[in-house]
Symmetry: C2
Subunit: 405 residues, 2 copies
Amino acid sequence: MGDWDALYATRTKNMRASEIRELLKLLDQPDIISFAGGIPDPALFPKDAIKAAYDAVLTKNADAALQYSVSEGYRPLREWLVQHMAGLGVACSIDNIIITTGSQQALDYLGKLFISPGDTVLTTWPTYLGALQAFNAYEPRYDRLNPEQGNMTPAAYREAAEAAGGEVQMAYLTADFSNPTGETVSHDGRIRLIELAHELDIPLIEDAAYQALRFDGEPTASMLALDCERSGDINNTRVIYSGSFSKTLTPGLRVGWICAAQPVVAKLVLIKQAADLHSPTINQMAIHHVAERDFTKQVEKVRGSYRQRRDYMLDALARFMPAGVTWTKPEGGMFVWVTLPEGMDGAALLAQALKTVRVAFVPGAAFHADGSGKNTIRLNYSLPNKEAIETGISRLGKLIADEMA
Amino acid sequence: MGDWDALYATRTKNMRASEIRELLKLLDQPDIISFAGGIPDPALFPKDAIKAAYDAVLTKNADAALQYSVSEGYRPLREWLVQHMAGLGVACSIDNIIITTGSQQALDYLGKLFISPGDTVLTTWPTYLGALQAFNAYEPRYDRLNPEQGNMTPAAYREAAEAAGGEVQMAYLTADFSNPTGETVSHDGRIRLIELAHELDIPLIEDAAYQALRFDGEPTASMLALDCERSGDINNTRVIYSGSFSKTLTPGLRVGWICAAQPVVAKLVLIKQAADLHSPTINQMAIHHVAERDFTKQVEKVRGSYRQRRDYMLDALARFMPAGVTWTKPEGGMFVWVTLPEGMDGAALLAQALKTVRVAFVPGAAFHADGSGKNTIRLNYSLPNKEAIETGISRLGKLIADEMA
């Protein structure tokens, strides 16, 4: 029997299970304190509201809920999202909105739409690991966005891309409470990114997965809202907004959306039709039912809970981390990003931490398109409770101090 | 403002809304009798069972139903499918099964896994339109399978593929009650296809969407079962089985599966992780709940209903079609394939039929990778009732006779 490996297309030949996936298997062990996940606290899911939603949908609207439907998504949900986007300063119509099976699918489709092999994608170092995984299927190279310290010039990005045999095709980042750093791009940084996208004439993907989870500080306008203001009309913008209900309502229904200029949405509808016909209608109806009634209340509940845990984690880091270790102070989201002393390796520390102090986290190199960031780690605080945070960070601080000694 | 068209990757630049999609918009008009759809009758959906399933899942298992989960799918559903596949003569384990968001997604992921631009995909003329749409995103050329009248030799397929600048990378067909023809490939035809796949060392995708819907005649073994027998073990086979609950239970939950050699499933898990993380867990749990209790009963119900409508349609065709028109006699599935007299154009006939007799169907050329088949049309009988079938076919027969006169 021949080898399957020989039969795969180039783009998929080198796909391997990520170390992080292997790592997550360890977390079933109950004595491990885990800051490794990136998942919401299920205690916050609006279970009763979701149960009532499915009951209502299957009582009143079963035929449509269970039948094939259109690729662009359930119209009342898209109408609700038009209002939701208006609240973020984005004037749009339902033709600017397509529903996706979670925002991960949005990244896959956008990669499919814009990236040819050898093209360049601009992103921050570090960036969302899942975005790199989604885009990698289309074989891009990456170059670095640095919205606060200074991006390269459009000409420099172009030259580097051409030298690598492709074109600069898109830019991607999470501007609010990013995964993995928890950091937020400033208003001026956003304006610089939007100008860069227009100068390069490329789409700028705004991953807004955590945007609603602001605990404190002043809200910064969405990049799509800023581009609408600059460009006069959403159909003249270059920002593609990728939204998600996963961090506010629940990830299990897999409902996200894209809001962008109409030609992009029309093309994504064709891609989706060919790729999975449509996201499950019943889930879109259920999400609409819950969002319409409870979105604001639910977001407040999640914010309140994560704000408290963010505080527990920042307190614990301040108490237990040795000098020479630094970390971000997120105003929202689910993560703190820790920089270890130069020369310390996050992956080696993880191996050690699992063995000796039974604490898990994600080494930072995985989030870097160029494999740098070895002395960084990502800590999640949305799932562990106060006691786990204090005990885990105390153990981790001691381990790091020992390693430094 | 620049033009978005210039920004798309090669593979998506030429995507256009299909004429069929435009056509389907017309069907909202209530006075049209439609044989154009390919959708199940919602009256047959097991609504009470599905409602009970969501209620049970959200009562007993809400945390897991609403949380992120693994890309390979909900384990109890995969275990149920191991038993289901055993019933089809396929001995496998859960490592041979991945859940997909409907079988359309399976086709997209298989295209992503196996096709590089310029490669050759073998399929029947005609074939499932959605498969052509899914594969087209990966820029293949197509060559023709002809399992009954005679495939080309492996060397001839190879030479043609190489002359076109690629390799023969996979074969795809619906062997049972195909969309669009309703025809089934014989046992000998299946054996020839399996031998061809092994000789060419390529995967042979068995689209089994309609396989459970046999009304009469002797069942023919699944190609995967035949390859297991030939190759001794599923992990030595080249057949990739794509299954779906859409035609038996409901399409709205978007649950399908792939059953194949373990290395292929492992690779598809990585693709799925990067492309949408996982199919909605809550829907997988609900489908499992219903399948476990009602699958056999539900399949019997659907078969009985569609058998009757198939009979109504074949009777009506015999009564109302003029000499010179021929059609298939499907033993299952949802479609009859009509061949019009040479020189008559299905697309022109549709335009005429919509205008004068208010009857809709799908012109056959869309299902041909080479655009041939202009004098064919697809008729669906799973949705219209007896009266609609008789009235619609009577009107259509008269129109065709008039056109021939």
